[in-house]
Amino acid sequence: METTKKEVLLSIQNLDVVFGRGKKSFKAVSDVSFDIYKGETLSLVGESGSGKTTIGRAIMRINPCSAGAIYYNGEKISGKLSRKADREVIRKIQMIFQDPAASLNERATIEYIISEGLYNFHLYKDERDRIAKIEKVIRDVGLLPEHLTRYPHEFSGGQRQRVGIARSIVMEPEFIVADEPISALDVSIRAQVLNLLKKFQNERGLTYLFIAHDLSIVRFISDRIVVIYKGRIMEIAETEELFSYPLHPYTKSLISAIPIPDPIIEKSKRLFVYSTDLHDYSTEQPALVDIGNGHMVYGSPSEIEKYKAIRFGG
């Protein structure tokens, strides 16, 4: 696929996020750059503490950027914004949270939770219009209008997550950051929520940044995958490209960790454990290099040559 022809919706450039100050400071994200194209699903994959959520929250402007910038539709959205631009970005970029139990206000009715954004931006003509909008969206996520007067604790995890989705969808956003939206859910309802996300993408041309640690789910939903390790991007590639030619050893270890639903193969599977000792960066500086076919890998020049040889034969 020709990625260069696509329209870039969100662009992250040399992003650093640092928590704390002075000696206690901790760099959660360092020098991360990637583009998200309009209408695609980009997945951010990595282990716990790798900085996936931090990147998502930096886009939502919950975590301030220490260095670098984030551009949305060509306009800078990190740092200080004018009030008008700020409101615009809030409406267009929405977030779906990881924990459906914690992300809904327990003392508010579903009606208030879903209408919250509508109230904030006055996205309705009159009361009837508002009710019509929230009733439509609640049906769209497979719930019933009679649920509107209920409280979150009366719902199951999957239903709550769908309320969370309804809350962001009703704002008619262009871009959604989905922060591990299914990792807190029961396996039996994960597909339901994923299909719902896909349905909205097809209907409304939404763009997703999908944050996950489970590669098997990521393969199902995403167009491109960014593999991140300790705040650095290790590899970026289209989904099938990444699964066919995982080049970076960390990506290989992630793929080797996917469970195989066959006990005989699963038992004899060789797990690939990643360690930074595999690299020797004492003489050469590593960098994220495009090796062609939209595939980018982090490595020193000699490693890159090796990766190219693996990928394109020779």
Partner: protein, 322 residues
């Protein structure tokens, strides 16, 4: 072999496919939940709540209605030394027959103890309610903003550290001396800095809830601060507020009694329980009828308010609603 197959086939006939309806599976059949209705249901489930509430209503009715029928004048018999410190029996003898007025005898200046207690209870209750209302309102509003805004926090911490380190009793004493000791100046003295400790307590509570995920979600939806406070933070603090109220209300009554006791309370012409206790304390062995009734009433009001408040605080915690 064919026999076995037949049985299996017959078995299969016992089962049939049913279409699943995904919409019906979403239905919730539990009755609708209403927060305040559940609060009152749990509150009235306790017998102590009903008993204490009845006692409180009785005390309120008596102390707010009776003073208009039983006007209290502490100096009505001050010129007649023969009426000083009479036991109930002697007082009734002296004033000619049975009368509610002399049911508890006379005070050190021939005043009616019962009328004094009734009027004093009204003063104490009014003082407690007014001071608690003012301090709680200001404290909660300031505390909510204090906990939410980091800029305001740094300013308020300095203010708090300065004022909170001035001894409270000293501050009230000076204020009472400066602005007089009428009812309203006493209210002013108790509320001028009284809200600060409530606000500080509230700031901490707000900070705990401020960064929860649903508040983050509200931020991502662009909800303004005042609505985040009123919808995301305050509803979670209802039981904390009620618990605070349960300890604040009686504390003003004890405060009044204590301050009157050390001599900086309400002025002598305002009937108050504290004043009566202070007047009688030197003679509580010789004239016990002057001392114990006001002590008993002050304690009863404090205990009733405290128990009711605690029961309401328990009931307003949604974890008890199941």
């Amino acid at each position: 072999m064919s026999n076995l197959q037949e049985t299996v086939q017959n078995r299969e006939e016992l089962f049939q496919f049913i279409d699943t309806d995904s919409i019906t599976s979403e239905k919730i059949i539990a009755p609708r939940y209403s927060y305040w209705r559940s609060v009152f249901r749990v509150f009235f489930r306790k017998k102590t709540s009903i008993v204490m509430l009845a006692l409180l209503v009785f005390i309120l009715l008596v102390s707010f209605i009776m003073p208009s029928f039983w006007p209290y004048d502490p100096f009505e018999n001050v010129t007649n030394a023969a009426t000083y410190s009479l036991t109930p029996a002697k007082a009734m003898d002296y004033f000619g027959g049975f009368s509610f007025k002399w049911l508890l005898g006379t005070g050190a200046m021939g005043n009616s103890i019962l009328y004094g207690i009734v009027s004093g209870a009204r003063t104490s209750l009014l003082l407690a309610v007014i001071c608690a209302a003012i301090n709680m309102t200001i404290g909660i509003i300031i505390g909510a903003i204090w906990g939410y805004s980091k800029k305001f926090d740094s300013v308020m911490l300095v203010v708090y550290n300065i004022i909170a380190n001035v001894p409270y009793i000293l501050l009230i004493t000076v204020l009472v001396y400066v602005i007089g000791s009428g009812f309203w100046s006493f209210v002013f003295a108790l509320t001028v800095t009284g809200w600060l400790s409530i606000a500080y307590f509230f700031r901490t509570q707000v900070m705990i809830i401020r960064d929860r995920e649903y508040s983050l979600a509200s931020r991502c939806l662009g909800t303004p601060v005042n609505r985040v406070i009123s919808k995301n933070i305050l509803p979670f603090l209802t039981s904390v507020i009620v618990t605070l109220l349960a300890s604040e209300l009686p504390s003003y009554i004890s405060m009044e009694v204590f301050l009157s006791y050390i001599g900086v309370g309400l002025s002598a012409n305002v009937p108050s329980l504290g004043r009566m206790i202070q007047n009688a304390q030197s003679a509580f062995l010789t004239y016990p009828w002057q001392f114990w009734p006001p002590v008993a009433v002050a304690s009863a009001i404090t205990i009733i308010l405290y128990v009711l408040g605690q029961n309401l605080a328990d009931a307003s915690d949604p974890r008890t609603h199941m």
